[in-house]
């Protein structure tokens, strides 16, 4: 089989489909919309494969497409995200019997963030990306990402009235 860019994209998608789904889910907060976003992003990726300049940048490139799809779908739907999302508050996955009210509070505030700020939070804390990786995915420069991250944290801090986030 010939290893074309298309084949590499296919492999990448298959191997990372769960991560892509989780990323979409963290924007859409429901299963069907998340799958729709993943589907659409995949189709767009194949259609625009010729715009990918470096194979090494494939991950950031695909992530960027997916995030843009999610954000535009959020805009289209203009959904009022339910403040209590049943799947995030799934008691059966909680093994620690920890008081989850804190976690829920933060998740709620993150959900309320405007899309651009939400993106940097998700990429930084859920996907564990460094600032330069975030810059690659979003197509912005590192300083813009940094300032968005701090702005987002500030908003979260104010809304949550906690002082724990200075060291992130």
């Amino acid at each position: 089989m010939v290893k074309t860019e298309s084949a590499m994209l296919e492999n990448f998608i298959r191997e990372n489909q769960n991560a892509l789904y989780r990323l979409a889910f963290s924007y859409m907060h429901n299963k069907d919309d998340a799958m729709d976003c993943v589907s659409e992003a995949i189709v767009i990726a194949f259609t625009k494969i010729h715009t990918l300049k470096k194979i090494e940048a494939m991950k950031s490139w695909v992530y960027r497409i997916l995030i843009n799809v999610c954000i535009s779908m959020l805009r289209k739907r203009k959904r009022n995200v339910a403040l209590e999302d049943a799947s995030l508050i799934d008691a059966t996955t909680d093994k620690n019997n920890v008081d989850r009210s804190e976690i829920i509070a933060i998740q709620t505030e993150i959900k309320k963030l405007p899309p651009k700020l939400k993106t940097v939070i998700i990429l930084r804390f859920y996907e564990d990306m460094k600032l330069n990786e975030i810059a690659e995915v979003t197509g912005l420069n590192v300083n813009t990402c940094k300032s968005r991250l701090y702005r987002a944290l500030k908003i979260l801090k104010i809304n949550l009235d906690e002082g724990e986030y200075d060291n992130v």
Binding site: E10, R14, N18, R22, F46, T47, S87, I103, F125
Partner: protein, 282 residues
């Protein structure tokens, strides 16, 4: 604190339908030309067999299309004839209808076009009818009309090669209410006489042997990851017959197409094997 958030994130449940959804999107993306349509994940397959589609592949009209006196330099192309794009709360329809245009206005081209058009119109009508039925059933069983997920049908074509000696293209159909969610129809025609090009024409009466050997050899050269996905007991010879799907690419090489699950597990997707034209009997 963010550690716990990350843990929750990593525990987001992956739906069972995701893999199917991803495979469909990959197949769709590889064929996509202009419009972006995303097939929706379906959790239940509805058994609606589109007999006409099956008939198309074995239609005598197609196989014995009228022959014309061949004229060198015949220009034959596949173009878009008509497009439908519309959406309402019950249906999302995206259809691109191809048409074979032949310099000569030959009868065989008209026959093929009629078949293509009829097939597509049929698919479209069936899909709309079914969509209305599901919508009615949905509402009658207490569903909320504004949450009804529209039924999608998307038909498009891909041209592999078009020149004086070969016309090779396919129709791809996605239909969320058919039992075969995704179907493809390959057309390989000699524009000089309008006759279908078959594997036997190309590789001689021994074509099964020749092609099976080629395919086996190519599989033997797969990397380990792909080898592991192949089914152990497949006799490739059994899969090579007059219904084997193939197309002829721009370089004149013949590409055999095996649909998902024919040779390997679903994760391998559709498999293609490029057979060098040097192997043909000319």
């Amino acid at each position: 604190m963010f550690e716990k958030l990350k843990q929750e994130y990593n525990q987001i449940q992956i739906p069972v339908e995701l893999n199917e959804c991803v495979e469909n999107a990959i197949a769709c993306g590889k064929n996509k030309k202009k419009i972006i349509v995303f097939p929706k994940a379906v959790t239940a397959y509805i058994a609606a067999v589109l007999m006409l589609i099956v008939l198309l592949n074995t239609s005598p009209v197609f196989a014995e299309a009228a022959s014309n006196v061949p004229i060198i330099g015949n220009i034959c192309k596949v173009l878009t004839f008509r497009e439908y794009h519309y959406q309402n709360k019950i249906n999302v329809v995206d259809i691109v209808v191809p048409k074979v245009v032949n310099d000569n206005n030959s009868e065989w081209a008209e026959n093929i076009n009629k078949i293509i058009l009829d097939t597509i119109e049929y698919q479209k009508t069936q899909s709309e009818k079914r969509a209305q039925e599901y919508y009615n059933a949905y509402v009658e069983t207490g569903g909320n009309p504004s949450e009804f997920k529209p039924v999608k049908v998307n038909i498009d074509y891909t041209i592999f090669s078009q020149d004086e000696s070969t016309l090779s293209f396919k129709l791809t159909s996605y239909n969320t209410v058919a039992s075969a969610y995704f179907e493809e129809f390959y057309y390989n025609i000699n524009p000089q006489n309008g006759k279908k090009i078959t594997l036997e024409n190309l590789f001689g009466e021994n074509y099964v042997e020749v092609l099976a050997t080629e395919v086996d050899e190519q599989i033997a050269n797969f990397d380990r990851q792909h080898l592991e996905m192949m089914f152990a007991q497949v006799d490739v010879k059994k899969l090579i017959n007059k219904n084997r799907e193939f197309y002829i690419n721009k370089d004149g090489n013949i590409v055999l197409v095996f649909q998902k699950y024919e040779l390997a597990v679903g994760a391998a997707g559709q498999l293609e094997f490029c057979i060098n034209k040097e192997l043909t009997k000319n």
